[in-house]
Symmetry: C2
Subunit: 139 residues, 2 copies
């Protein structure tokens, strides 16, 4: 009861659709759920956490295949392989974070110019940002 859910509840609580849950099971991102005699899947709350983890990783640019390799609990999973995977992911993440910061700074500069122009010529239709992005100066 307290820790037993049908697919619709899991979907609602984890913010994905029922179809997506079944799709994840097919892709082995979720273990095959046990069934009721009638064939209904029975999930527990760990499934919900797991789905949230998948969504978070995905949101940060990891593909389902990559997430799958991080999650693969299959018998032969040994520590060293997981360590190496994590190491690689962290390096990737660092790179992404760095260019994210750069892009953030670039947009901030654009925004400042925009405000500047609006202050100086409130009715201007010629946005310096448009011109600049169109000509895409190198950062």
């Amino acid at each position: 009861m307290g820790n037993s859910f049908r697919i619709g509840e899991v979907a609602e609580r984890s913010g994905v659709s029922i179809d997506t849950l079944r799709y994840y099971e097919r892709r082995n991102l979720l273990p095959a759920a046990p069934r009721t005699p009638g064939g209904y899947r029975i999930f527990n709350s760990e499934t919900i956490d797991r789905v949230l983890f998948i969504k978070q990783a995905q949101d940060l640019g990891f593909s389902l295949d990559e997430i799958g390799s991080l999650l693969s609990t299959n018998g032969s999973s040994e520590c060293r392989r997981v360590r190496d995977l994590l190491d690689a992911k962290l390096t990737e993440l660092d790179t992404r974070l760095k260019s994210m910061h750069e892009f953030h700074d670039k947009l901030t500069r654009y925004l400042a110019e925009c405000e500047e122009e609006l202050k100086r010529h409130p009715d201007s239709a010629e946005c310096p940002v448009v011109v600049e992005i169109a000509h895409a100066e190198r950062t």
Copy 2:
């Protein structure tokens, strides 16, 4: 000459395929290039910068539609609209950066546990990380 390129050169210099360049033109992410009498497109170096900008933004999770609205130089582009768009993008970017950092920390913790375990039991097949991710603790 110095600032005039055929599509193949632009592709090579900006790291995308020829098809992608034509596709971007169709999607109006690039202005319709002028043509030679025979119909060949003629690009200048600003196109290359622009493609690099698109790729950068895309890499950070912006869709081509979003990038398009940022780049739209169409007649009626007025400063205020661009300012608002930029503002929204920056907020988004901040959110993404924040959860990226959190995810980074989470992976770092996993990695530390992994190393720990390897140091303690060099031949261990039971990775604590696998267990933990499988059970997806909430961060």
